[in-house]
């Protein structure tokens, strides 16, 4: 059993997780086997005239139906002979040549035709698209094998090119469909539109912009098509519509053996095995990782990941964290939390969170603010243990109401999530099921957490919707999520989360997808939920104004670390950390505009996979000192009232502590 955790040395097997890391390794290995098999067949085909012991058509009527060597035959005909005394091994070797040539050529013809028609249909659309695709539909509705037999049967002599055309031309539609749908999406994408605005002609847009993006899907389809063609060619030959003598293909050998199946079963089995081996090799090769669209490493955290037991690095704890005391009313306490992402065993680990300390008191709204790459969302996902399978909690602890969450079994964690810790995500429509009514989903959510009847649950749901500002909750309950606007859906999500009465609400960019006027209403609801139910809220946003308006406590994150935290007024009106200061002077607020220029922060985030020995902001900091590059500043209280992780304050703060 393997999982995301197996990227570490001392991983502990954990049940119920997708072994994706291992599966990608496994896929690579099977693909190598497939590609080696294919290479072998192609080599045999090329070298046929040198390695075959006899010419394929050489008959020897004195030695018909000789058994293969393991059934008592002699070494001159290793795989025996057929009804005309021809050497089966030689014929199988030459057959590889015909089979590979016919299938590969047919594939190229079908692929080329399909690519061209798909590009034309997708790019021009309209009537051109309709005509091309309907022709394809008609062709698919016709029985291919019957038509192929009629055509081939009319020919007095069947040569390889006849079979290539009969097999290859009809294959276009398979490629055309895929190419067309890719072109349809690419055509509307920004970079093609940008090319249009530059004045690029249609021809240029197709070949210089769209084609290089569409290429990638073809090899996988071509390989699937190839295995299909190998079988198809053999089928036609077996039915007696394959190559005419003296040409030989596997299907031909199979057909020759048909008559003497009882006396000489090897005549059918040997070419059958050759076909099977080819098709199997091709299908294994399709698994090649290069043939699939690459998955992004960071996106869509959807599944849980726990920290392997005993995998802590106490030595790496910043000095200050041990000193922080836990008062009575602290509901959530995070200490030195670190999260790594790693897609493959051999790829570099991305240190998304590099040691975060965080305290949330009961009834408090804590805002985590930071730019992309700061690790703010990953922190929330790590708290609720909803990390992507490629992520793992590298070290640190998450105490929720006295319980350690990082080492909790998934089954118990599931009971805490939803009931005691509610989550609201950025995209509300993605979190609701579009085909079920709001009422159905809310009733299900309530009843899975609290034992009660359907009617009672529905009444509770209606009350919850009224609480988040819906004037007519009964109407909303009857609707499907897609009939509601983004702001309405987000309020439904809040109601759904709140009706279970969690103690902690984690809201990850809950209003980022909404307009400001709608956002204002959602913020009002969040505040009411806290005021009326005493819920603790962790709200995560890139919007400093939003955090400033709603949060009691603010945590500023940069490159996976906390730079500054404390009461909102303190941190945002009298910032001490150079990053907080720079961030605040980058936002065009009335005050900043009145003061003149936006500052901005020169440079970029440090590489997320690098080990940073010092302060992560050092490279962009206007007040940087030598010590900043070599030592991580501890998060310590400063005289102004907040805690700051900056060497400008280190000595001062240390003096204060004594």
């Amino acid at each position: 059993m393997t999982g995301a955790a197996n990227v570490t040395m001392n991983s502990t097997p954990l049940p119920g997780r997708t072994p994706r890391v291992a599966s990608s390794m496994w896929r690579r290995r099977t693909a190598v086997v497939g590609l080696l098999g294919l290479a072998f067949i192609v080599m045999v085909a090329i070298a046929a005239s040198w390695i075959a012991p006899h010419p394929p058509g050489q008959t020897d009527l004195s030695n018909v139906l000789a058994p293969p060597v393991w059934a008592g035959g002699d070494a001159a005909n290793l795989l025996g002979t057929d009804g005309l005394g021809r050497d089966v091994l030689s014929r199988v070797i030459y057959g590889a040549r015909s089979s590979v040539l016919i299938s590969a050529s047919a594939m190229l013809i079908g692929g080329t035709l399909g690519l061209i028609t798909g590009l034309i249909a997708g790019f021009f659309g309209g009537i051109v698209d309709t005509v091309i695709m309907r022709l394809g539909d008609i062709q698919l509705a016709l029985p291919f094998i019957l038509i192929a037999i009629v055509i081939l049967g009319m020919l007095p002599e069947r040569r390889p090119h006849h079979l290539i055309l009969v097999l290859g031309v009809p294959a276009w539609i398979v490629y055309a469909r895929v190419v067309r749908s890719r072109v349809l999406t690419e055509r509307e994408s920004d970079y093609v539109q940008a090319a249009t605005t530059l004045g690029a002609s249609g021809f240029r847009r197709i070949f210089r912009y769209i084609l290089p993006q569409v290429w990638g899907v073809l090899p996988a389809i071509a390989l699937v098509d190839l295995s299909n063609l190998v079988v198809m060619e053999s089928t036609l030959s077996f039915l007696g519509f394959g190559l005419s003598a003296p040409d030989v293909s596997w299907g031909q050998i199979l057909a020759d053996g048909r008559g003497s199946m009882a006396m000489a079963p090897w005549l059918s089995i040997i070419p059958g095995l050759a076909i099977m081996f080819t098709v199997l090799s091709i299908n294994l090769a399709v698994e090649s990782p290069g043939l699939e669209t690459r998955r992004r490493l960071w996106r869509l955290p959807s599944r849980r990941a726990t920290r392997p037991a005993g995998d802590t690095h106490p030595s790496m704890k910043p000095a200050g964290s041990a000193a922080l005391e836990q008062p009575e009313d602290v509901l959530l306490s995070v200490r030195d939390l670190a999260v790594d992402f790693q897609a493959h065993r051999d790829s570099p680990a991305v240190h998304a969170v590099r040691g975060v300390d965080l305290d949330v008191r009961r009834g408090q709204i804590v805002g985590i603010v930071g730019e992309s790459g700061s690790g703010k969302s990953v922190t929330a996902y790590a708290i609720s243990r909803l990390l992507a399978p490629t992520a793992r909690i590298a070290r640190g602890s998450v105490h929720f109401d006295g319980t350690e969450l990082t080492e909790m079994p998934e089954r118990r964690m599931r009971r805490i999530r939803g009931r005691r810790i509610g989550m609201i995500f950025q995209n509300p429509t993605g979190s609701l099921n579009p085909v079920l009514t709001v009422g159905f989903q809310m009733v299900e959510a309530i009843r899975s957490n609290r034992p009660m009847g359907r009617k009672q649950a529905r009444a509770l749901a209606a009350d919850a919707l009224r609480d988040v500002g819906f004037g007519n909750p009964e109407d909303v309950l009857r609707r499907h999520p897609f009939r509601l606007s983004g702001g309405q859906n987000q309020r439904v999500m809040i109601a759904m989360t709140m009706v279970v009465e969690p103690e902690l609400l984690l809201a990850d960019e809950p209003t980022t997808a909404l307009d400001v006027t709608t956002q204002a209403q959602v913020l009002d609801q969040l505040r009411r939920v806290r005021d009326e139910h005493g819920v603790s809220v962790v709200i995560i946003s890139h919007d400093i104004g939003l955090i400033g308006e709603i949060a009691d406590e603010v945590v500023v994150m940069y490159a996976g670390r906390v730079c500054e935290s404390g009461p909102a007024e303190q941190v945002l009106l009298d910032p001490q950390h150079p990053y907080t200061k720079a961030l605040l002077s980058s936002v065009p607020t009335p005050e900043v505009i009145a003061a003149g220029n936006l500052e901005g922060i020169p440079g970029d985030l440090p590489d997320a996979s690098a080990i940073i020995p010092g302060c992560p902001f050092a490279a962009r900091c206007p007040a940087v000192m030598d010590v900043c590059h070599i030592a991580v500043p501890a998060l310590l209280p400063v005289p102004a009232g907040q805690t700051v992780a900056c060497h400008l304050y280190t000595t001062e703060a240390e003096v204060l502590q004594r």
Partner: protein, 346 residues
């Protein structure tokens, strides 16, 4: 650069009664519904100015900017460029003069090309430069947008969001356009990077005399960069004035609400201007003034009579029956009436 600009009296670009309606099929119903994305917009962009266009999602601001680069065709109305009406036949010629920077720095650059190829594309398409001259021009553009020639060999995948957006700007500047449209060009960027790009655009305006249409949902950003601001709501322009006037003393209730909804630490515990509900469906816009169902100042006349966008004060156009009252409220909220222009009660 834009030395052959129009005379001072003719705006660089004029929009007259521009209209764009989409026919969409929603759900299972057979009959297409009309979405009035842009509904009769009059707008003039003067040479050398940055005009900000602000509004919430679905207000038609992106559609409007896309009609200017002819990614959308007009249903009605007229676009004039340097006093001449834009004709579909002249599309390619016009494309040299109007360029656009897109919102998403990731999807708007072709991933398979190098930065040099991307920036050279417009010059190759229009057969303007080649060989060493082309390379030199690309290097110059890279320097101009703050990247430098070392970036030429890289692929977009090796760049950060801010660097990609700089490449997008360099590509748009390659043809020395008269008008640069920035369609939410900084919205996908982090604030620290956003500030860098805004300052870059300001510098380019100053150095190159660029005219710019800056489209954004973020009124703070628009205020920072624009000379004038047009506010859009449901396909129509509701207010148009100097950036300082719109930002400091809005005269349309929607502009006031938009400003007031921007969260900030100063807003803690302060009651907001009451704007109820979500923006109405553009498939079925309200009668009269399109903002009346959400407007805190709505009267009976607003439900029946549509206010025209007219010049209430010099250089200040508002589409509201009660613009003077609204302006007075804004002035009062500012803590004094000294900022309210003269002739409020005219």
């Amino acid at each position: 650069m834009t030395t052959t600009g129009p005379t001072s009296t003719t705006p660089l670009v004029e929009l007259h009664e521009v209209r764009k309606h989409y026919r969409v099929r929603s759900g299972l119903s057979r009959r297409p519904v009309i979405v009035q994305a842009v509904n009769g917009v009059d707008l003039a962009i003067d040479a050398g100015e940055i005009l900000g266009l602000v509004g919430e999602s679905g207000c038609g601001k992106s559609t409007l900017s896309r009609t200017l680069v002819q990614l959308e065709t007009l249903d009605a109305g007229e676009i004039r460029f340097k006093g001449e009406s834009i004709d579909v036949a002249r599309t390619d010629d016009l494309r040299r003069h109007i360029q656009i920077v897109f919102q998403d720095p990731y999807s708007s650059l072709p991933a398979h090309m190098s930065v040099r190829q991307i920036i050279a594309e417009p010059l190759l398409i229009h057969r303007l430069l080649r060989g060493a001259e082309l390379d030199q021009k690309v290097d110059d553009l890279l320097v101009n947008v703050g990247l430098g020639p070392d970036f030429a060999a890289r692929k977009p995948g090796q760049l950060s969001g801010g660097q990609r957006q700089r490449v997008g700007i360099a590509r748009a500047l390659a043809l020395d356009p008269d008008l640069l449209i920035a369609d939410e060009a900084v919205s996908a960027l982090d604030v620290s990077v956003q500030a860098q790009i805004l300052n870059l655009l300001r510098r380019l305006k100053r150095d190159l005399g660029l005219t710019m249409l800056f489209v954004s949902h973020d009124i703070g950003v628009v205020r920072y960069i624009s000379d004038r601001i047009a506010v859009m709501y449901l396909g129509e322009i509701v207010e148009l004035a100097s950036a300082a006037d719109v930002y400091e003393t809005p005269a349309h209730p929607y502009t006031r609400a938009l400003m007031d909804a921007v969260p900030s630490i100063e807003h803690r515990g302060r009651p907001r201007i009451e704007v109820r509900g979500d923006p109405p469906d553009p498939k079925d816009p309200p009668s009269g003034c399109r903002f009346h169902p959400r407007c805190p100042m709505a009267q009976d006349v607003c439900r029946t009579e549509k206010p025209a966008l007219r010049e209430w004060w010099p250089g200040r156009q508002v589409a509201c029956h009660f613009a003077d009252e609204c302006l007075a409220k804004s002035g009062a909220a500012l803590g004094g009436s000294d900022r309210v222009p003269d002739g409020v009660h005219s």
